[in-house]
């Protein structure tokens, strides 16, 4: 087992809204290991992005706040850390890329300027010339052609895929321990998606960083992740290594998600059978049902599911399932 660099324990994040307090993340536990990729999967509103932003210390406050729990980065508590100390970690030791490559870069500064800015902040020993060189180096690393030219360009002169590469270059320029990728390929074409994923895998190998990969795309998870945590309504409902989750999932929600991936015959390319969906809707965080949040959409729900909340129990080999009626194969 490699070194554990980040541990999220019983994290609870709440938001004050006009309609009352909602709990976006409710007792999440995560562990991130050096050089490994942790996939966090879930539908919109399941709390995966909020979890990521909590690690970055970027929960908009007010209205949001970390109500309880802890986030330990190499033994250092991040939930109570001073803002000035957190800024030294952000972008330097833990960095993040976002879902919206088109709008995530500042339109009025050159790409080079925006990469150099991170270096200027976290690597003060570099001279202006060295920073410029490093920016070009980073663009080369993420596979941008003619980087000497590109550093002088503005974001609007680049395509979406190129901009996401720039974001990655920026995030990795200080060689962080952890890269948080919040749906980095969602807004991109499928072919560009594959290129970006390849790039991230390659860079992880070269730089040895850990990746927290947030996505709703299980296909991407299968391809890139070592471990997976499936989130639903602010909680982790199942976690384990990627093989276990894909081969023997036990939570009805995970199974439902896996069945919702279209399957194709590898020789003819035709779709196999009808696509199944999970019936019903994600309940509103304002009125979650008593007991298990998934009860209304679950085919196995019993009376116990409607009165008691299941806990995430280990069923062996680090495989955790939060269900009273796990599906056994």
């Amino acid at each position: 087992m490699s070194e554990k660099i980040l541990e999220v324990k019983d994290l609870v994040v709440q938001f004050n809204t006009d309609r009352g307090v909602i709990t976006a993340v409710n007792g999440v536990n995560l562990e991130v290991y050096k050089g490994k990729t942790l996939g966090v999967v879930g539908e919109s509103g399941s709390g995966k992005s909020v979890t990521a932003l909590s690690v970055m210390g970027l929960i908009p406050s007010p209205p949001g706040k970390i109500a309880s729990g802890s986030i330990l980065y190499r033994g250092e508590e991040l939930t109570t850390i001073e803002q000035t100390d957190m800024r030294k970690i952000r972008g330097n030791k833990i960095s993040m890329i976002f879902q919206e490559p088109m709008t995530s870069l500042n339109p009025v500064f050159t790409v080079g300027n925006q990469i150099e800015e991170v270096l200027k902040l976290h690597q003060r020993e570099l001279s202006k010339v060295e920073r410029k060189k490093k920016a070009i180096e980073m663009l080369t690393l993420v596979g941008i052609p003619s980087p000497e030219q590109r550093v002088k360009e503005y974001p609007h002169q680049l395509s979406g895929g190129m901009r996401q590469r720039v974001m990655i270059a920026m995030a990795l320029s200080c060689e962080p321990d952890i890269l948080i990728a919040d749906e980095p390929t969602t807004a991109l074409d499928v072919t560009i998606q594959a290129q970006i994923l390849e790039l991230m895998k390659k860079l992880q190998k070269d730089l040895g960083m850990a990746i927290i990969f947030i996505t709703h795309d299980l296909g991407v998870v299968a391809e890139t992740c070592d471990d997976v945590a499936v989130m639903y309504c602010g909680k982790i409902v199942e976690r384990g290594d990627v093989k276990t989750i894909f081969k023997s999932p036990q939570h009805p929600y995970t199974i439902g998600l896996l069945h919702s991936i279209p399957a194709y015959d590898s020789t003819t390319g035709e779709q196999k059978g009808r696509l199944t969906t999970i019936e019903g809707m994600v309940p509103s965080l304002f009125d979650l049902p008593k007991g298990c949040s998934f009860q209304d959409r679950c085919g196995y729900a019993s009376d116990r599911c409607r009165s008691e909340e299941p806990s995430l129990d280990d069923v062996g080999n680090g495989h955790g399932v939060s269900c009273f009626t796990p599906v056994q194969k």
């Binding site: 007010p62 957190m86 970690i89 976002f98 709008t103 339109p107 009025v108 800015e117 902040l121 609007h156």
Partner: protein, 313 residues
Amino acid sequence: MNIYVYTIRRSLYVIPILLGVSMMIFFLFNFISGDPTSILLGPHATAVQMAELRQELGLDRAWYFQYWDIVKSAFTFDFGRSWTTKQQISSMLSSGAIPSMTVSIPAFIISTVLSISIALLISFFRGGWLDKTVVFVCVTMMSISSLAYILFSQWFFAFKLGWFEISGYENGFPDFVPYVLLPILIWVMMTIGPNVRFFRTVMLDEVYQDYVRTARSKGLSEYYILFKHVLKNAMIPIITYVVIQIPFLILGALLTESFFGIPGLGSMTLDAINGNDFPVIKAMTILTAVAYIIFSLITDVLYTVVDPRVRLK
């Protein structure tokens, strides 16, 4: 295309605009405003007197000569003589512009810099008590009539407290300084409310953009993000708003100048309107149009400096 070619090409657009403006001025003064000779001579004038005056003022010439005078004056700034003072209007303009600008330019600079600073400060503490208080004060200040500011300040600050001169003006620096202080203060008070509210809106539009989140994720401080990332993006609407006010600085403030007895273009215009001095009103109208056109041209060129997305085509 480089910025020089762009500027020249953009300048060519000025020609049709000027033609349109000059035509409108021509129609306004020659057809809509009525016969100036009967206004000047009163209801008991004889037809002979009117014909003589018409000839004297050059109103008997063919319409295209009169129109040509307007077009020409937009370039030469030769507006002829005033009907009431008989002075060259161009020299009236140049002697009036300086007193106007001794009030308007300092007031404009103070108001703009102060408003941008306050807007930056309250966008930093957005949603907090400071933000709410400032917005409340701004709306209150905007709701008060400019006449109330002028009359109250003249009575209270100048008359009761004796801090400033009540009215009057002296030419030359530093003699004019005591006379312009109160008008400047009033100008700042009148403009700061709408300015702060506009700049605040512009900045808050930017604060919630994705690139700000990216900047935070790099570990940059809020202060740095506001000054570097947000301010430069906010500059695009701010420039339009600020530069387009400049023509009015030359033209002066109508009410403030006449209440404070400042011999600027503002009070000159007001006098001309009261005295039916058509050539002066016409000159001010042409001057306003020309200044407005020039400064909107400058705004367009400045855009290309601030916003790299503006293509020069």
